[in-house]
């Protein structure tokens, strides 16, 4: 295959990728190449700018009212919350454990 034929094959492949026509396996292989081959990213960007015009006549549909609140909660509230909760949980367990241990020591000392 000459260089220009290879270039052409890549352009067509990029078109099939952008159209969503590659199989899952072909898609994975192509995405691995995208990481290291900038010319493929350029071909995809070109096709995308063209094919995206096919969505021009798709009208807007408002997502459900509570959708953004849920998204905000997932992205902004819960990012650190579970970690903090886990940490504070273990801190509470540590403090309680220490108090109980001290209590036992006091009881032993009193008994002596």
């Amino acid at each position: 295959m000459t260089q220009s034929e290879a270039k052409n094959t890549d352009k067509i492949l990029a078109g099939e990728y952008v159209l969503g026509l590659l199989s899952i396996e072909e898609n994975t292989q192509f995405e691995a190449r995208l990481e290291t081959e900038p010319h493929l990213r350029r071909y995809c960007a070109d096709w995308l700018e063209d094919f995206v015009t096919l969505t021009d006549d798709i009208g807007e549909v408002a997502p459900p009212a509570g959708f953004y609140a849920g998204l905000e909660k997932r992205l902004f509230d819960t990012q650190q919350a579970p970690e903090l909760a886990a940490k504070s949980g273990s801190l509470i367990r540590f403090v309680l454990g220490a108090v109980v241990a001290m209590g036992i020591c006091v009881l032993i000392l009193v008994a002596l």
Partner: protein, 180 residues
């Protein structure tokens, strides 16, 4: 009014972790992106799940827009398109209750110039006119409706290999017409 420059500015702010900018970007683009997801998936719960993944990726990956070589709205539609196609392929049904919370529809206000105008970027449409009608329809069915080669082959009552040949030949014609 959401012009490309405004979306660029918002995406730059989102990339820097600006939550208010993310809210503004959502208000300006979620209707169009949900429309795209719905068209591909034809199911509200699945389209909501795809939209959810789309905005998670927008929040996490906005920094990659400048190097993608894409205009902001194209990049966001691309993300919505990919998330919808992944869901369509894998037919995931794991929609969390919070995604389904509040099915009530609200009608937002949408700037008229948000959607890309065919008159400005109509080169592809012009080039597609040189193809026989049914062959130009293939691109719409694939990109907008999410049809795969086997779907397209069934649609046109052709063997899958013939379908693949059609698409490759026509991509070649389009590529030449678009002068690449």
């Amino acid at each position: 009014m959401a012009k490309t420059e405004e979306l660029e500015r918002l995406l730059t702010q989102v990339a820097a972790g600006d939550r208010d900018a993310f809210g503004d970007l959502y208000a300006l683009t979620s209707g169009k992106l949900f429309g795209v997801c719905l068209r591909i998936l034809a199911s509200r719960p699945k389209a909501q799940a795809a939209l959810w993944s789309t905005f998670v990726e927008i929040w996490q990956d906005a920094k990659s827009v400048p190097t993608s070589g894409l205009r902001p709205m194209t990049w966001m539609i691309h993300v919505a398109h990919q998330k919808s196609m992944q869901r369509l392929r894998l037919d995931l049904a794991d929609v969390s209750p919070e995604m389904l919370a509040d099915e009530a529809q609200t009608k937002g206000e949408w700037p008229e110039d948000l959607v890309l105008k065919p008159s400005e970027y109509g080169q592809l449409i012009k080039c597609m006119e040189v193809l026989p009608w049914e062959r130009s329809a293939v691109f719409r069915l694939a990109f907008v409706e999410g049809e795969t080669y086997p779907d397209l082959a069934a649609h046109f009552d052709l063997p899958v290999d013939t379908m693949r040949t059609w698409v490759r030949q026509d991509l070649q014609i389009l590529s030449e017409c678009l002068e690449r």
